[in-house]
Amino acid sequence: MIAEAGLAALWLAAAMALLQLVGGLTLLRGGAGQLAPLVKPAAYMQGALCAFAFFALMWLFYVTDLSVLLVASNSHIDKPMIFKLAGTWGNHEGSMLLWVAVMSVSGAAIALLEKRIEAKTLYATLAVQGFIALGFFAFLLFASNPFERLVPAPLEGAGLNPLLQDVGLAFHPPTLYMGYVGLSIAFSFAVGALLTNQVGPAFARAMRPWVLAAWIFLTIGIAAGSYWAYYELGWGGWWFWDPVENASLMPWLAATALLHSVSVLATRNALRAWTIMLALVAFAMSMAGTFLVRSGILTSVHAFAVDPERGAFILALMLMYTSIAFVIFALRIGTVKQGEPFQLVSREGGIVANNIFLSVILAIVLIGTLYPLAAEAMGDKISVGPPYFNKATVPVMLLLMLALLIGPMLRWRRDALMRIKYWLIGGAAILLCGGLVAWRLAPGTGLFPLLGIALSLALAVAAWLPLRGRKLLRTPLPIFGMVIAHFGIAVSVFGMAAESGFSKETLTALAPGESAEISGWKVRLSDVKPVVGDNWVAVEGEMLANKNGNSFVMRPQSRHFFKPEMQTSEAALLTRWNGQLYAVIAQPDQEGDGRWQVRLWWKPFVTFIWFGGGLIALGGAISLFGRMFRRARKPAINKWEPA
């Protein structure tokens, strides 16, 4: 019954989305607007119905109702409860339902709370939102019904891909989806503002929290995914330039650019067309990301989510939305008036530099990701990997950091570099000293890691400068948010540069009792024994890691899951303040001499990468909180704050 009720709720919600679209459109076409009073209630109903459908599915997973196909094929009676619940969205149908539910609830929230933009623009936005939702309802109901029954019901269920049985990963896809949904709302606002010719500061202020929220979720999602790949896949890397990783990075790049340009629009009423363009691109990129993951069109480590037919459906939706949006863009953007002018050396100029560099990185990643497909169309088979992406993106990232050193210190409209010359000289001194010290400590280091370390040191100081001369207690929270996020970038880049420049690795075969050395650590394999878990068995190595008289136990595992059959490696990580010792145990050595293949890494400051990512997201969250708090206290005033 629950499953049928959930399905019925989805159909009703689709009808509400249609009503929202038609009601908004008739008003927009200059109609009498008899349907207009129904638009907001339709949005509320749609949100409530979708939330109900999602919780219905969660209930089915909670009780492990194996007569539902989705539950039977993704859950198992023996699975721990947290993974049973995570199973609700740990699969294609469930994750699409989550997407639709979050989107509908957000639409209801806009209808309820948004008071800053004109009613007509709000209705247009809700109409676009209904239009997008309709496509996803069609996708859910026709191509991926989460409530389909299975007759006869099996006795125990098939299980979940063991790589995905991980608390961190249970929350990785939904986090990214929240980000994608937030960008879909930014998209709706942008198209709504284009249609009603209301591209201005009020629109920017209405759209900004959604962009900010989406960006926070994307940041967390990417950082969590990167950490998961780092410790679960046992390759010791944290970014592989895999097509699916790129698919999540591209919306983030677009969202980061959008976040900055929307602040300019909200404060200075400049960059109007560009902000609209970025909002469209950001949503197009998140659709493209979903498409790349689901279609399996590019070979990827994420191949567990592949289904070409559904890929075709998402592709059709993506092409429809983005084409229509860009047609509207081309037809209507001429009516958007030129924004306020500004000079090159100014806060606006800094943000334009930020936008240009981010767009260039986005283009590089997009070209690199799609190039294998283009090459295949030409009859050539290639894959594009880290050599291209690193060489092409890192210089632009370093330029971006350079702009970040200066930009936040500049004034709006016009400024002179002479005004901040002491800060510039100080920054250059830190840059030079940092680079020299790193180079002295490790002479053989590549240029990029050196520059990365020098720039991150300079930024770690420069990030705090916007607070100088302010009364801290009276400084708006968004300023703190910006400062913390920029500091987080310094921390993260420092980790990346240190890890890629100074990591040590050794691959060896050890019998119990033997030792290996790496970066001053002496690692002794003391024992190898079998262990069992809920739905796996493993070989576990017990290692004693020694440095400076301190000794620590590490227990890497090579796990064998049996529902479904799969081999995974659980790396053992020993975290110190200045880095991580990373140990992996693999197969017994081939010679049959009782040795085990052991791989050890010393990764200096590697944890800074995710710690910095967390700071970036925290900065965003503080900013969002401050903005909501301020809004509750008094109406928005026309004074600049960063996103």
């Binding site: 363009m277 691109v281 069109i297 863009f329």
Partner: protein
């Protein structure tokens, strides 16, 4: 109103990427990496016999004017066992087959032949995978069609199934 043409660039980019994606979905995916050696002469090699009673194999042995198949197998490889009956069918149809046993031991090869039959004229033993790599083969089993002059004409990746037998016979006959 006169609208600048460049406003349509985003739409054109979407159309281009969409076209690529549609192409990618429409064309069946082929993840196999084919040998770069197809169309070239066999690399020179001379392998010892893989087991007693079956002659050894060298590249010179295969350039005797007669087209034939070169099967790369191993006694430890399960698909090789599955394709053994089809190799027998090929032999019965008059196709000559030479073989290379990869990373194998003489007694294991002998046991394999005893259990699944011996359709091979000659078997060379490639314990280091050196010749396999020179041929551009990345796994077992693989089967090559070798022309009478020792040219590599065709590569079949994976086990031979019943439906592949007529195709292979035709390829060998076409090379005569």
């Amino acid at each position: 109103m006169n609208k600048p043409w460049f406003l349509w660039i985003p739409l054109a980019v979407v159309a281009f990427i969409g076209g690529l994606a549609i192409y990618g979905l429409a064309v069946p995916k082929d993840d196999q990496v084919h040998s770069a050696m197809i169309g070239k002469k066999l690399p020179a090699f001379s392998l010892p016999a893989a087991t007693a009673g079956v002659p050894a194999l060298s590249s010179a042995d295969m350039a005797d004017g007669k087209p034939r198949l070169l099967n790369i197998f191993a006694s430890w490889c399960l698909p090789c066992k599955a394709e053994a009956p089809h190799l027998e069918t090929l032999k019965a149809a008059g196709v000559e087959i030479d073989a290379i046993a990869v990373r194998d031991k003489p007694e294991d090869v002998a046991a394999f032949l005893a259990e699944f039959g011996n359709p091979f004229r000659r078997i060379g033993s490639d314990t280091e995978m050196a010749v396999q790599l020179k041929l551009g083969s990345s796994g077992v089993p693989e089967t090559y069609v070798i022309g009478g002059d020792g040219t590599i004409l065709f590569q079949h990746i994976g086990d031979i199934r019943a439906e592949h037998v007529p195709m292979l016979i035709e390829k060998v006959n076409a090379a005569k």
